[in-house]
């Protein structure tokens, strides 16, 4: 084998290695069942419900800003069928508990202590929010939290999803 062939083989391997790792869950994908992962806290049943799954951490400032907006959405839209689940990726259980105690969210929060779920979903930023329709498919993905602009977008998209008919069993 000539030097040129050797280099070509090495280049091929290099290109293969440079291919991107598994990407984030995208619009149209089915969101994994929360029960399948080891979460600190009780994961609610999401089947047949419009669900907002938010990945957050106590060390992330925009996550802190987003909680009042989610609380408002919960108050307005939970009676119409919206379910909000905040999934913390905190390593530190004490900081997670202090954050939850200080903000007292009215919606469900759990902690992905082993990072099983977040590694499956592979979020690209903190916070990342997935809006799921009643069949459990990802319909919208939001990276970061941008104040009133994000809150308005959430409201509009959730109302669209709530207006859709439930899937046939």
């Amino acid at each position: 084998m000539s030097l040129r062939s050797t280099l070509a083989l090495a280049l091929l391997g290099w290109v293969a290695a440079a291919l991107p790792a598994r990407a984030e869950l995208a619009v149209g994908d089915t969101f994994p069942t929360l029960d399948a992962f080891h979460l600190d806290g009780v994961a609610p049943e999401t089947t047949g419900r419009v669900t907002l799954v938010d990945f957050w951490a106590s060390w992330c400032s925009p996550c802190k800003d987003s909680f009042p907006a989610y609380a408002q959405l919960h108050r307005e839209l939970a009676p119409k069928g919206l379910l909000i689940v905040g999934v913390s990726v905190d390593d530190n259980a004490a900081r997670y508990a202090a954050f939850v105690k200080s903000l007292a969210p009215p919606f469900t929060v759990v902690r992905d202590e082993r990072h099983d779920l977040v590694e499956r979903v592979r979020v690209e930023a903190m916070p990342t929010c997935f809006l799921l329709d009643r069949s459990g498919r990802v319909r919208y993905v939001h990276h970061g939290f941008h104040g009133a602009e994000s809150a308005r977008a959430f409201q509009q998209e959730i109302e669209t999803l709530l207006a859709e008919p439930a899937p046939h069993p």
Partner: protein, 80 residues
């Protein structure tokens, strides 16, 4: 093609691939967004010591006639 040199060439190719892989694999070099708690810690802020910041500012001002423009918001969590 000289077939006697094939094993050596293959070994070289594998070695080169392994070496280059370390430079290119995003999985190896990238701290994932959910792993940035340490980077987001207060101690990672370059301006956490007001006295040191003042002294640095003074040096830039007196030696380089430069002032301001050094601040960046937040620490290393990369949020937003």
């Amino acid at each position: 093609m000289n077939l006697r040199r094939l094993p050596l060439a293959l070994a070289l190719a594998v070695l080169a691939t392994a070496a280059f892989t370390g430079c290119t694999s995003t999985k190896l070099v990238r701290v994932q967004p959910w792993q940035r708690a340490t980077l987001a810690d207060y101690t990672m802020r370059p301006d956490r010591d007001p006295l040191a910041t003042t002294m640095s500012e003074h040096i830039y001002f007196s030696r380089e006639a430069a002032s301001g423009g050094r601040g960046v918001g937040g620490s290393g969590c990369g949020c937003n």
